[in-house]
């Protein structure tokens, strides 16, 4: 797990730095060197998709997605537990359908070149989906398990 975290964090930070470099390079090429370089924009867009999906693993791991706990926290514990399990399973089904689509799109786009980088094909946009979504699903499963443990601990404490 620690290795995964180091790998994930360093990948995400490298991508963000790459993004920044690409856009700053674009400004320098255009205004300082007066050269039009279309690949900087393309590379920045590709890197952004990779960053968002890699970052989404960290967001899922840390439980930092935007959600409204206000109403659900008023429900009885048992109902909250059942809801949490059902809704997490539903979320996983959605992610699995995105993953299935990602695999298909990688197959379909293998021979389509990107606009300005001739050696790169469009499947590069879909690869992070199939690489990152399994980890997000794994962390959702961990959430279900840990929620049960945390809530059981709480209810034991309350009984005592």
């Amino acid at each position: 797990m620690k290795l995964l975290r180091i790998l994930l964090y360093s990948t995400a930070v490298s991508i963000l730095s790459g993004l920044l470099l690409a856009v700053v390079a674009q400004v320098i090429f255009r205004y300082v060197l007066h050269i039009s370089v279309p690949w900087t924009e393309e590379i920045a867009r590709i890197l952004m998709i990779w960053m968002v999906l890699a970052g989404s693993i960290i967001v899922q791991k840390d439980g930092s997605h935007i959600r409204t706990e206000f109403f659900v926290s008023k429900l009885p514990l048992k109902i909250r537990l059942i809801l949490r399990i059902l809704l997490n399973i539903a979320s996983m089904l959605f992610l699995l359908s995105v993953m299935k689509g990602g695999f298909s799109m990688i197959r379909h786009t293998q021979n389509i070149m990107t606009g300005s980088i001739t050696w790169l094909n469009t499947s590069i946009l879909y690869i992070p989906i199939v690489l990152c979504l399994p980890f997000i699903i794994l962390f959702i499963i961990r959430d279900i398990v840990s929620f049960r443990e945390t809530e059981s601990d709480k209810s034991t404490e309350q009984r005592e």
Partner: protein, 430 residues
Amino acid sequence: MILSLFLGLLIALLLLGVAVPYAIGLTSLLVLVVQRGVFNLPYEIIAQRIVYGMNNFTLLAIPFFLLAGKLMNVGSITRRIFNFANKIVGFIPGGLGHANVVASMIFAGMSGSAVADAAGLGTIEVQAMIDQGFDREFSAGITAASSTIGPIIPPSIPLIMFGVLGDVSISALLIGGILPGVLMGVSLMVIVYYFSKKRRYPHENCPSLKDFMIALRSAFFPLLTPVILIGGILTGIFTPTEASAVAAVYALVLTALVYREMTLKQFFHVLMDTIKESSVILLIVGISSLYGWLLIKTQIPNYLMERVFLISKNPLVILLILNIFFFIVGMFMESIAAITILTPIVVPLALSVGINPLHLGLVMVLNLMIGLLTPPIGMCLFAVAKVSSLPLNRMIKAVTPFYLPLLIVLALLTLFPQIGTFLPEVFFRK
């Protein structure tokens, strides 16, 4: 049936605590299941729409503006800005209250997020005000209220999102936010003045020229950020995305090289926070692209338009209805989620009755920013309650007087679109 599934299910999932991107995704998936059946789901389209939604160069401005704002919050930049603001307006009765508002307006020109202002600058502002004899509630209330200026004065993450999702010029939206943002600041200063006179809050002596110059010199480089940003966009030197990258690099150079106030560990934390917050926002944008595509395919905006037209076709009446709707939504929904879900629905409606989408964007974002101060879901309320150590019920009471000036500005902006459209028309007239 499809409409109730689209809106009803989404709202139900959000209220049940499902993370916003998954709630939007699940709703879209269920609509597809109802339309095409479980065995005919267009998996390729699902993946394609999500990637398409994120594959947008303009959206890159979001991580960069977040990064710039976070870098400005490390070290002494926020303190320098606050001190400078205090030298400009600190002599007016209720001095630090005015400095609080002016500092938020300056910080708004560097950061595009209200919560970043509330949590970063807010910590310094609340403490300084309490130390000088202001009561905790007033200090917290004005800090929360002034932080909502952040996403109105450029840069602004909500306005960028509205522009991308509603196909409205980002540069025009950003520049259009300047006057409403300044009006918000002025209206808040009026109410600070009123309370300060009534409660005899302290103020500073008029600064000597030397003191003023010292404060100006100390804050000079941070003060250049909005000049570079807004100037770059206005003169057409940068696109908003390029301006955001330049702002991030400038903030990095200031914090790490000029002031030398950031350790490598702090820098790593800033980068990680930026990645996390950007991923949260941009994943929502990506998945909403699927939702927006389905909305248009099922012609829901047209259906809603027909229903609204039964009430009125008068743009002002429609803006009033939308304002009430946005206000209620803002109370219960986080602003980023509200913008992603509502923009594809309300922009066609506005266009059909001749409301300028730029005007609509500003009204919508300003309204949702007031929503950041309203319970039960008010991100700025939570952030300032935390930094000012106030329980939430006292925080809500503290911010209540400040609804009035902000609502007056909202009403003015609704009634007089020129407040938002004047500057873009001057600078971007074709």
